[in-house]
């Protein structure tokens, strides 16, 4: 086989059966792998109107052709299901070591169907695949579950699992891998929990082969050298991690502050940035499988009320608990973030939901008796306490566990949920970075920064430098970024490789691994096909139209370089639909479907 190991596991959780079926190689060719291929399987098999937490939803783990090879950061895989948070296609990408191990065991992916009546986990050791009782694991945290399964199965097993919030339907619970790596957004953990599937434990001793080994070696050697030579992909992220962004985004006046209420400049931002993290709490940096970028932070708060250790925080998590909650205590931010990993929840939505609750409390919309204490912006103890409450699924945590939209709606102010399609926007203000406004509005999984990261050209100047205030040309640029991102997520390598690599180096590795002679443009077109397939699913699912919270469209930024600006969404949106080849309502045209070979 060429970069694939050739087998998909189909697991019926109700009937307790495991079937090994051949990989659909035509779909693997057309939709690349991981995000694309997982979505293709999902769309072919599941009714878009399915209730996400019902047995009819499916949960798919899918690797890519480059997963498990030495391609640049080639250790990633995708978890796909219909998202209970957004009602859109839910696809979340994870690093770590689980994906490669699954391929070494002989499986490109796993499709979980139906639901079990009692808790189970899937045990995979090469040829041996069986559903096992997980009653003793139910109610355990991600960390406890991982440790217990390694004890039971063996220390070389890789563990993918959910925590207590996911068991209880928390709409932003993730699927956690190797403890600290998450298929984090969109609440896919809750789908896993609704199926009473606690974990997957895998150990594989087999091989991943590639079509043209010598040429593949040349391609990966070239790509690794190019990436290593880049100031960001080579040494920048290793030294300061993603938290290095705090200061540049803040200085650019684009760091949303106190639930986006107080503009986009946080005076205490420096205390929460990557430089402070490195100085105070960083133990060492770490990489995922096959990675040379090594952005992960191994961190320890040695003393004080927030004494703790773990990994992270990443930039968006640091922002959500930091500027968005008005908190400047980095130790508290670290601890809250560690708790998210321990309990398996998305720190972006968690922090942003607390921020929303803070605004609702301060305006008098949430009574103190519902929360149990006065919940004001800037309180470092509050972010830890409320994260613990969601982690244990108790008290006010049960309400927060539904995300900011449902919280704000319950208390009469849905407009104060800073979300798109009910998923919280991350750490870049679309009023100060216009391209990000368009990105949030059009993302196929609700607001998200890793679906077309225009912050890179607009603020960071990678790979080109464009003005963040200008709206012209953003639509075309976003389409390119969205398609390229869909391609990269589908190959099984990390999106961060684009901080050093372009389509050329990525396509070269793909080509030699699978043994194709397609051009770079033909390969990029597969990314566009993936994007359009996702869009078709969302339209059929009846997802709401592309828009932004009214605060971004109407409330002018009060200060900073972008003072007086709002998100000029509708100026860009029409152009975006045009460059996508969609009609004015954002529906792909028959011509576009034919061009991409999508049956619609």
């Amino acid at each position: 086989m060429n970069a694939w190991v050739g087998t998909i596991l189909r697991v019926d959780l109700a009937a307790k059966t495991v079937v090994k079926e051949p990989l659909n190689i035509k779909d693997a060719h057309d939709y690349v792998g991981a995000r694309g291929l997982g979505t293709k399987y999902f769309c072919d098999e599941v009714d878009p109107k399915v209730e996400p937490l019902s047995a009819g939803n499916k949960l798919i783990y899918m690797t890519g052709p480059l997963t498990g090879t030495a391609a640049t950061s080639g250790g990633r895989f995708e978890v796909v299901a219909k998202s209970p948070l957004t009602g859109t296609i839910g696809a979340a990408n994870s690093g770590g070591y689980f994906g490669p191990e699954l391929k070494y065991a002989g499986y490109d992916g796993i499709i979980f169907e139906n639901a079990s009546e009692s808790p189970v986990y899937l045990y995979i050791k090469d040829d041996v695949v069986e559903l096992r009782d997980a009653s003793a694991l139910w109610g355990k945290s991600v960390f406890e579950t991982t440790d217990l399964l390694k004890e039971e199965c063996g220390s070389s097993f890789k563990i993918s699992c959910i925590g207590v919030p996911a068991e209880n339907g928390c709409l932003f619970s993730g699927v956690l891998n190797d403890k600290h790596r998450a298929a984090g957004r969109g609440g896919l953990g809750a789908v896993m929990g609704s199926k009473k599937l606690k974990a997957v434990a895998v150990r594989g001793t087999g091989a991943v082969t590639v079509a043209r080994p010598e040429k593949f070696l040349d391609a990966l050697t070239n790509a690794r050298k190019t990436l290593k030579a880049h100031p960001v992909g080579g040494s920048g992220l290793a030294a300061l991690g993603t938290q290095v962004l705090v200061n540049i985004i803040n200085e650019s006046g684009a760091l949303p502050t106190r639930n986006w209420r107080d503009g986009a400049y946080f005076p205490e931002a420096n205390e929460t940035g990557g430089e402070s993290l490195a100085e105070k709490y960083l133990v060492k940096n770490k990489g995922c499988f096959a990675c040379s970028i090594d952005c992960a932070r191994v961190t320890r708060v040695p003393d004080g009320p927030f004494k703790s250790s773990g990994e992270g925080p990443e930039y968006e998590a640091g922002w959500a608990y930091g500027a968005d909650c008005g908190v400047s205590d980095l130790a508290a931010i670290c601890k809250a973030n560690f708790l998210c990993n321990e309990h398996g929840i998305d720190p972006i939505t968690m922090g942003a939901t607390i921020a929303c609750a803070m605004e609702l409390y301060e305006m008098g919309a949430i009574p103190e008796s519902d929360i149990g204490f006065p919940l004001r912006f800037g309180d470092p103890h509050a972010i830890v306490k409320l994260t613990e409450a969601v982690g244990r699924f108790e008290g006010f945590g049960k309400i927060l566990a539904l995300g900011s939209y449902r919280l704000a709606e319950k208390y009469g102010h849905p407009e104060l949920s800073m979300s798109v399609k009910k998923q919280e926007m991350p750490a870049y203000d679309g009023r100060a970075i216009q391209g990000m406004a368009l990105e949030y509005a059009t993302s196929n999984r609700g607001a998200c920064h890793v679906r077309g990261y225009l912050t890179s050209p607009e603020i960071l100047g990678v790979p080109i430098k464009v003005d963040p205030f200008v709206t012209e040309g953003k639509a075309g640029l976003l389409k390119l970024f969205q398609d390229l991102t869909a391609l990269i997520d589908s190959t099984g390598i990390c999106l961060f490789t684009t901080f050093g690599l372009g389509l050329q180096e990525i396509a070269a590795q793909y080509r030699e691994a699978v043994g194709t002679d397609e051009t770079d443009d033909e390969i990029l077109l597969k990314g566009e096909r993936v994007w359009n397939l996702e869009k078709h699913f969302n339209i059929a699912a009846g997802v709401e139209k592309d828009t932004l919270p009214p605060r971004l469209l109407r409330e002018k930024l009060p200060g900073g370089p972008a003072a007086g600006k709002v998100a000029e969404l509708y100026v860009m949106l029409d152009e975006y639909y045009k460059v996508r080849g969609w009609d004015s309502d954002g529906v792909p045209t028959p011509e576009k479907n034919v061009e991409l070979g999508i049956d619609a």
Partner: protein
């Protein structure tokens, strides 16, 4: 005028923020930094021939990248704040 350093620049200047006399423009500011902090900062701020600002340096004046202002000729004023970053990214 306020001058702020970030990320790896702090290792060279050993300073996060300082008040300095107002230079005429950005080019004059960067040239003076090159004189103060020597080769360590010059290789980061300028192209190898010294003739241009390096593509890897991000210079903001009041939060706006000088590329979208007047580049190296961007004038400076007492009330301005200049922020200097290396090329960084994340997300």
């Amino acid at each position: 005028m306020k001058l702020k350093f970030f990320a790896t620049y702090r290792e060279i200047t050993r300073c996060n923020e300082e008040d300095i006399p107002v230079p005429h423009d950005v080019w004059e500011l960067l040239t003076s930094l090159g004189e103060r902090y020597g080769a360590a900062i010059r290789v980061k701020l300028f192209t190898p021939d010294g003739g241009k600002i390096s593509d890897d340096a991000i210079i903001l004046v009041n939060g706006r990248n000088i590329l979208h202002l007047k580049g190296k000729d961007t004038p400076l004023d007492e009330a301005d704040a200049v922020s200097i970053f290396p090329m960084v990214a994340g997300g």
